[in-house]
Amino acid sequence: MTQTPQTVRTARTVRTTRTAPPAHDEPAIRFRHAAKSFGAVRAVAGIDLDVRPGETVALLGRNGAGKSTAIGLLLGLEEPDAGTVRLFGETPDRAVRAGRVGAMLQEGRAVPRITVRELVAFVARTYPAPMPVAEALELAGLTELAGRRIDRLSGGQAQRVRFAVALAGNPELIVLDEPTAALDVEARRAFWESMRGYARRGNTVLFSTHYLEEADAHADRIVVVDAGRIVADGTGDQLRRAAGGSLVCVDLAGRPTEGLGELPGVVSVEVRADRARLRTEDPDATVVALAGLGAVRGIEVTAASLDDAFLALTDGHTHTFSAGSAR
């Protein structure tokens, strides 16, 4: 499901028409300079973001980066102090009232004394064009548990109920705040399968996570949030490249390390046990230069991991590599 850089670029410039109703020349989500503070804390410090209908976008950031506040703004649970938030061209409030949005909130606990089916059927009824309850239960993997009381389910099962609640109304956009936080590996795999099933129907999905692998594996596009700002926006590959691409390692064999930092492409040098680790934006040029110095010994070139990328991206600088809304 990864997109090419071109596809990402069109998100900004071209209003695609797709197969959807006419209102869909509007982006599903649009933040414009949106900001929100709580007291002295600037939880969201000016966000610009467009999400096209049909995209699956991950909001990636550490705890406290501003993801939940951004989602609160998105759902109309919070009013922005400045800027605007629009869903399908409408205010979040109106889009929610019109049944175009479903959400799985982070802090939700089990609603006591009702069964899974009763809850999902109730939520479905509040929407104008819900999916059949059996289908929502099926998608969330709850068919077997439909008659059970929610307050007697395990944490992972209750999480699936919250997912079913988000999609019961068959909304065009679902917003999932840390959807896999309480899940074990198996439950997590099942959850993502359900999520993809829903996205494949042409729906828009925005989920927040602090797991890099999840963002990389399940989103078309990753929006990295740090200290209330968007610091990067693109595919997983783009993020890796942007973060100082690759790692070139060579044995020093007693050579001095001077000058290695000035080689083409090299961003940083680290020496460990007589082995130099050169972080480089242009591994080809770096390797050629090393060869010129006659320093190619036990050479090894690896792509930076997404973890490296994430750490590099959230070090306080804003990276302007992407076609998205990073500045």
Partner: protein, 241 residues
């Protein structure tokens, strides 16, 4: 949409064991004890008057209990989840108030049934109907008070405050003991409580008389006050919850 919400919430309330035991069972038990212990058990129609008063006490408890449910829902994030469904906040509040009205019925009806079946209280059919209707409609101010507490306070505090309100209003309002036993100052005070007037309306009807305008006026004033309190509490919680 509201109907579906009310149905859901009524189910949740009736599945709450503590509501069934304490909300419905307790007033019945107290009624039977208070009217059958002691030598002068039935003087001056006490079995009938106490039946209405205890039914009012049951209705009061159920009405306030609605508010405890609101606080619980706020605490577990259910109210916030409802805000991201197409239901408007107004529909949620109205739904909750209607839920309160529905759960009041079994609590009051159980005491009336005990009066008729165990204590041999005999009323005209229209009187039974009028008493039940008065208890049902008259419980609205207390539902509003409970909801006001529920939106304003945490689940734990709401539980305590609602039980406190219930006890104070029941005792001073003469739902447990007739106000004739009260010292003079307490009896005058009692006349201003919504519970005294609530029971009084039912007792007039049970005696085949129309309720006094003073009783209706006092109860209506309290309804307005508690209604404003509920609206203010709700607005405040909407900003924070």
């Amino acid at each position: 949409m509201i109907t579906a919400y009310v149905r859901l919430e009524v189910r949740r309330t009736l599945r709450d064991t503590s509501f069934v035991v304490f909300g419905i069972g307790m007033p019945v038990l107290m009624y039977l004890l208070f009217t059958n212990l002691g030598a002068d058990a039935d003087t001056g129609g006490w079995k009938t008057a106490s039946m209405v008063a205890m039914a009012a006490y049951g209705a009061l408890g159920a009405a306030l209990g609605t508010g405890t449910g609101v606080a619980e829902d706020k605490g577990i994030g259910w109210l916030r989840q409802l805000r991201v469904t197409p239901m408007t906040p107004r529909q949620v509040v109205i739904g909750r108030a209607l839920t309160g009205s529905v759960t009041v019925l079994p609590a009051a009806a159980a005491v009336l049934a005990a009066g008729a079946l165990v204590n041999g209280v005999r009323l005209e059919a229209w009187e039974w109907a009028a008493v039940a209707l008065a208890l049902w409609l008259g419980a609205l101010p207390f539902t509003l008070l409970g909801i006001g507490n529920g939106y304003r306070l945490t689940a734990q505090t709401t539980g305590v405050v609602n039980v406190g309100c219930s006890l104070a209003l029941s005792i001073v309002g003469g739902l447990w003991f007739p106000t004739e036993l009260f010292p003079h100052w307490l009896r005058s005070l009692s006349g201003f409580t919504p519970t005294r007037r609530f029971a009084e309306i039912g007792q007039s009807l049970a005696a085949g008389a129309a309720p006094g305008p003073a009783a209706v006026a006092v109860l209506a004033a309290w309804a307005l006050l508690f209604g404003s309190y509920a609206v203010l509490s709700y607005r405040r919680s909407a900003r924070t919850a």
